[in-house]
């Protein structure tokens, strides 16, 4: 009976250690990414098999793009505020509103163009096969701009910092 208990305990201890080790091993890349300063960039490097040099160049592109994107969001927000103010004004000028809406649409188009340029530049930093994969991923997940979505607030949007 005592021997059975010893073997049972040994088996349980070994299996707990083994299971834990398997979990730690399986989640090692993601835990390493989560501890990084820029987890999303670490994910990009891991997902699209980029070298450190490629990542450094992409990070420079990303930083430049985010600065422009913040400015674009600020302009879209300002135009959006003007449209709203004009819309609820008692003596709404329809021509002015039309011009403001056209401005807002132009800004969104400009914003999408900057996004597309950035994505193409990032894909060019990757190997051809990974670059193609990246563009497909971006097409499916990023280059969408819902028409009825609320305008993003630059301070609350996903600019990270």
């Amino acid at each position: 009976m005592k021997r059975a208990l010893i073997i049972l305990t040994l088996g349980v201890v070994l299996s707990v250690v083994g299971g834990g080790a398997a979990y730690v091993h399986r989640t090692a890349p993601e835990r390493a990414m989560a501890c990084c300063k820029n987890p999303e960039m670490a994910w990009l490097q891991h997902e699209f098999q980029m070298t450190d040099d490629q990542l450094a160049r992409v990070q420079t592109l990303h930083a430049g793009y985010q600065a422009g994107c913040r400015e674009m969001c600020r302009r879209i927000q300002a135009t959006n505020d003007l449209v709203r103010a004009e819309f609820i004004a008692p003596d709404a000028d329809t021509l002015k509103m039309q011009r403001l809406l056209a401005d807002a649409a132009n800004l969104r188009g400009e914003c999408q163009w900057h996004m597309t340029e950035y994505c193409l530049a990032v894909s060019r930093e990757m190997s051809p096969a990974q670059g193609k994969r990246y563009l497909q991923w971006v097409c499916d997940r990023v280059l969408t701009m819902p028409g009825n979505a609320a305008m993003p607030n630059p301070s609350e949007s996903g600019h990270g910092n």
Binding site: H25, P29, A34
Partner: protein, 110 residues
Amino acid sequence: MNESNDDLRLRQLLRESRGRERLPPRFHERVWQRIATAEKSAAARPAFSLAAWLAAFVATRTRAAAWVVLLLGISVSTGYLVGGHASARWDAQLSRQYAASINPYLADNR
């Protein structure tokens, strides 16, 4: 000579004692009934049966090793499976974070 005298006396005492004390009626039947009841209650206790089963199972080295390997196999596969799910979840979250860092509309519409 002395020994045979003692034997005789002992036999006589035994005979007398048998004659004096009579067994109660259905004594043997009751003894067997009590044995059967004790066996049944021992088998009905799960801890007893599990411990006995375990003791029997790990009685040989091969079985003991098989037991440890089986437990280890189950736990390692479970750890890998659970880790795979967690890893996929983190991956999805990080990919959403990256997508939102490019397109703030995605952050607002998550």
